[in-house]
């Protein structure tokens, strides 16, 4: 007596239910207006940062002392089309410097987050899954690392050697990975308790096979999903470092050092310090809008409300 077909007919499933959680999160996030606004802003900025400096003839570090302190367009009398956002105290074009600064800032933000994600999640997964000794060791290191505030670590290391972009990325990544380790560990612990892991063990699968084939794909996408918010956090942190002189050294422009130089001229040529501030505000708002929309989407999908 072979009972061929499954008994109850497969219920008609709406396309939404057929996708993996990651796709559902993306779909949910994309549908939100705040994401669209954020993404639009980010695209405009990225276009500006990557393409405009290439096509424009002016070199961001070239100084034209005679044309310094030119106000931005439509402000004061001396504004000029060549410098839409005006020039700084050494006659360098502010728009270009801001865009180059943005390029460095975003690059540092993204690289640091990737470094934090890879190191943090790897250690988090291992300590979450293996448990006992490895878990306590890794967790103690994370606690130690977390109790050194990021700014102190940055100051200690960058204060001595001459800060370069890789050094900054390394320092910020070093200071940030414990947060990812903790999140990955708790997610791995939750996943480990799920029945299908017991099922895999019974089939004879080794720990490594379970981590790589099952735990990682289930745990990592939601964490990666929320990393966008961290890019914004690192960007603002990098500009703080630049402001106190520990960011990338002149002549390379970054938000931090432009604002720091411009601070002196805030009274008479306020735009030198304000323009990078506005750019930073603009970028961070776009990243935060996107990030929070994605975070809300992730929370909804994971809680099954989507």
């Amino acid at each position: 007596m072979t009972d061929t077909t499954s008994t109850s007919a497969t219920p008609q499933l709406t396309p939404a239910e057929l996708r993996t959680p990651m796709q559902r999160m993306l779909r949910e996030a994309l549908s939100r207006t705040s994401f669209k606004v954020g993404f639009g802003m980010f695209l405009a900025l990225l276009f500006g940062a990557l393409i405009y400096p290439e096509i424009s003839s002016i070199d961001p570090t070239k100084m034209a002392v005679r044309s310094r302190h030119i106000p931005p367009l439509f402000l004061g009398e001396k504004w000029v089309w060549a410098h839409p956002l005006g020039t700084d105290h050494l006659g360098r074009d502010l728009l270009l410097r801001c865009l180059v600064g943005l390029r460095y800032s975003v690059m540092i933000g993204i690289c640091t987050v990737i470094l934090m994600f890879v190191v943090g999640c790897a250690l988090g997964l291992i300590s979450g899954f293996k448990g006992k000794l490895t878990d306590t060791i890794i967790m103690r290191i994370t606690d130690a690392q977390l109790s050194i505030p990021m700014i102190i670590l940055a100051i200690t290391i960058l204060g001595i050697s001459r800060p370069t972009a890789p050094a900054i990325i390394l320092v910020l990544g070093l200071a940030g990975w414990p947060l990812y380790a903790r999140v990955a560990r708790s997610a791995a612990l939750a996943e480990k308790r799920k029945e299908y892991i017991k099922g895999q063990r019974v089939l004879g699968a080794s720990d490594w096979r379970i981590i790589t084939l099952f735990v990682a794909p289930a745990v990592l996408p939601p964490i990666a999903f929320v990393a966008v918010l961290d890019v914004a956090a690192i960007m603002i942190f990098e500009s703080i470092l630049g402001f106190i002189g520990l960011g990338i050294q002149p002549p390379t422009p970054t938000f931090g050092n432009i604002i720091a130089d411009g601070r002196k001229y805030l009274i008479n040529s306020w735009w030198i310090a304000t323009m990078p501030g506005v750019f930073l505000l603009f970028t961070l708002t776009s990243l935060n809008l996107m990030g929070s929309a994605m975070e809300n989407a992730r929370n909804n999908v994971l809680k099954g409300a989507a």
Partner: protein, 612 residues
């Protein structure tokens, strides 16, 4: 319009969905609850029981919405009176007990404090002292041991049963005239549920409250209700006294409901007879203890003795059942049998090979011989793999087959378990529970094991799906000669399938007997107590008030000396306090560890001796 002595009358109550105007969760329900009467309401999962319960006291919010009807308590319509009047009635003259005791109170505040808070919120004039005394008084009434101490304890320090008693206190403390009990026994073990039902019956006279007793199982309602209503998809299809309902059901739905009830004792109910075959797996005196840090201490640990010396022989081709209530150690035993964990002492031999003596490679090889099927169909399968890939996984792990040969074996297994091969590259997300369990079976089947351990595998399926899978297991046993170990708390299922049954209590097998011996003539008092509490309409050979004493199983950390069941055993002897009874073999292959049985046997052997 309201019946003269009815305390709560419901007229044409309808509840729908905000988004969908014509959807009806509760469809035009009317009934009256007489003062001091118990009105039962039964309905399967999803029939709208909880929605009705909460709708009666204006307790529903988005996405649900009232679509008509009214609920009169004395002369007020609960659905329309202003909020400050409503709070005088709700939680005061109408009590409510939910189905999930563990989540009913704020975990960060002691239970006493929350009951007092409710009392003084419902009648502000009451002083804190009065409220505390009142709460303690009712706590004692529900027979919670040492109420003064437990008054200051937190919800997480209470077991399911105890917590439900606290919620009963919470409902009855204001001496309500109406009590709505929404499926209060659903989350509890059978013995604990039986005690709660008996408690409700005692309290009913003391508090003279009318009770709307809602449940998903008819046997539970039948013992307590004066009249019973049957709810199907939001409609009341029949209302009658329990006896009338059982003997002369009118509505089709009621009939089908009755037919699907589990049957244990009845004229044509018989369990399969034991098989005499060599042992496949033998478990000898296995112990497993967990060491958990004691709360708030630095280093000393609590020793949770999950399994305390279990010995069991499993014969080839046999279906052996392991039953017991939650906390008796059966899931730990399952993990030991599947060798997911190693016992501290004692050995498990499979085909004569001691598992602890094997190295990693040999162990993995031997694992093919015994497989574990998991309980929850939804979380036991990886969510991001196609059906074919899941079934192929064991073959890949053990490197048995690749390529086309792999595909063929996977397809063969799918056909054999009744899965349409076309599902091979579909995700599991859309499949039904039954289909998912078939994938689990297929996944084990490809390794051609000898032993299958079923950890509550069928308990989450509905009766129809369950009977289909029985046939499948039966067929596979005949074709492949599988041996099954059924681990379950569902006595009806074990009665129907298992040749032999082992009853576990507090980490130990108190009785092992053939199917019919255990169900008709169990030797151990705990077996009898367990059988007395089984919710079935059949005539119970053992009455619960005779065998089922108050109280809950002691915690596995502080196991009382002597026999661990003596604190709840009505037949406890003096010897039981001191000596822990050993397992004695009985005629017919069973074994029991109870002093009473030992003494009976001695008496019989002496008598036999004198006779010869």
């Amino acid at each position: 319009m309201a019946d003269n002595n009815s305390i709560l009358s419901v007229r044409n109550l309808s509840v729908g969905l905000e988004k969908d105007p014509d959807a009806r969760i509760i469809d035009d329900i009317s009934f009256d609850l007489g003062g001091g009467k118990v009105l039962g309401l039964i309905g399967e999962a999803g029939s709208g029981k909880t929605v009705l319960a909460r709708a009666l006291i204006n307790g529903i919010g988005s996405p649900l919405i009232y679509r008509g009807g009214d609920v009169h308590y004395q002369d007020k319509n609960i659905l329309t009176i202003p909020i400050n009047e409503l709070t005088k009635i709700r939680g005061n003259s109408i009590g409510y007990i939910g189905s999930n005791p563990a989540g009913a109170l704020d975990p960060t505040v002691p239970i006493g404090g929350q009951i007092v808070e409710k009392l003084r919120s419902v009648n502000p004039s009451m002083s804190r002292k009065q409220a505390t005394d009142r709460a303690l008084e009712v706590l004692t009434a529900v027979r919670i041991p040492s109420p003064e101490v437990r008054f200051h304890e937190y919800p997480f320090q209470f077991s399911g049963g105890m917590m439900q008693r606290v919620m009963i206190v919470d409902a009855l403390v204001t001496n309500p005239s109406v009590l709505i009990a929404d499926n209060i026994t659903q989350a509890l073990d059978v013995t604990v549920a039986a005690q709660i039902i008996r408690l409700i019956q005692d309290l009913r006279d003391q508090f003279s409250t009318a009770i709307l007793f809602i449940s998903s199982s008819l046997p539970v309602v039948e013992t307590i209700a004066d009249e019973v209503m049957v709810l199907q998809q939001g409609k009341i299809v029949e209302q009658a006294t329990p006896k009338a309902l059982i003997t002369k059901p009118k509505h089709e739905y009621t009939k089908s409901l009755l037919s699907r009830l589990p049957r244990i004792w009845g004229k044509d109910i018989k369990g399969p007879d034991a098989v005499e075959t060599p042992n496949l797996m033998s478990v000898e005196d296995v112990h497993r203890t967990y060491y958990v840090r004691k709360k708030g201490t630095f280093r000393d640990m609590n020793a949770v003795q999950a399994v305390r010396g279990v010995s069991l022989d499993i014969r080839e081709g046999e279906n052996i059942g392991v039953v017991g209530e939650s906390g008796c150690g059966k899931s730990t035993l399952t993990r030991l049998l599947a060798w997911l964990e190693e016992p501290q002492t004692g050995t498990i031999k499979f085909n004569g090979q001691d598992l602890s003596a094997l190295d990693q490679k040999e162990l993995t090889k031997l694992r093919q011989q015994f497989q574990l099927l998991l309980q929850d169909p939804y979380s036991s399968l990886p969510s991001r793999m196609s059906v074919g890939r899941i079934i192929a996984e064991p073959l890949l792990i053990h490197g048995i087959a690749e390529g086309t040969k792999l595909k063929e074996r996977v397809r063969a297994a799918m056909t054999e378990v009744g899965l349409d091969p076309s599902l091979e590259n579909q995700l599991t997300v859309g499949l039904s529970a039954g289909q998912r369990q078939r994938i689990n079976i297929a996944r084990a089947l490809v390794l051609e094991p000898k032993l299958m351990i079923l950890d509550e595998t069928l308990s989450s399926l509905d009766q129809v799906e369950q009977s289909k899978l029985f046939e499948l297991f039966d067929k596979l046993q005949k074709t492949h000669g599988f041996t099954y170990i059924f681990i379950s708390h569902d006595m009806a299922l074990v009665r129907k399938v298992c040749h032999r049954v082992a009853v576990m209590y507090l980490g130990r097998i108190v009785e092992l007997a053939e199917n019919n011996t255990l169900f008709e003539n169990p030797a151990h008092p705990y077996s009898r107590a367990l059988l007395s509490a089984v919710p079935t309409l059949d005539v119970h050979p053992f009455k619960s008030d005779e065998y089922l004493l108050e109280g809950e199983p002691p915690s596995p950390v502080h196991i009382p000396p002597g026999c661990s069941y003596r604190t709840r055993c009505p037949l406890a002897l003096e010897i039981c306090n001191r000596i822990d009874p050993k397992a004695t073999m009985l005629a017919g292959g069973g074994q029991v560890s109870c002093h009473l049985v030992d003494q009976d046997q001695q008496a019989q052997s002496e008598q036999a001796a004198t006779v010869t």
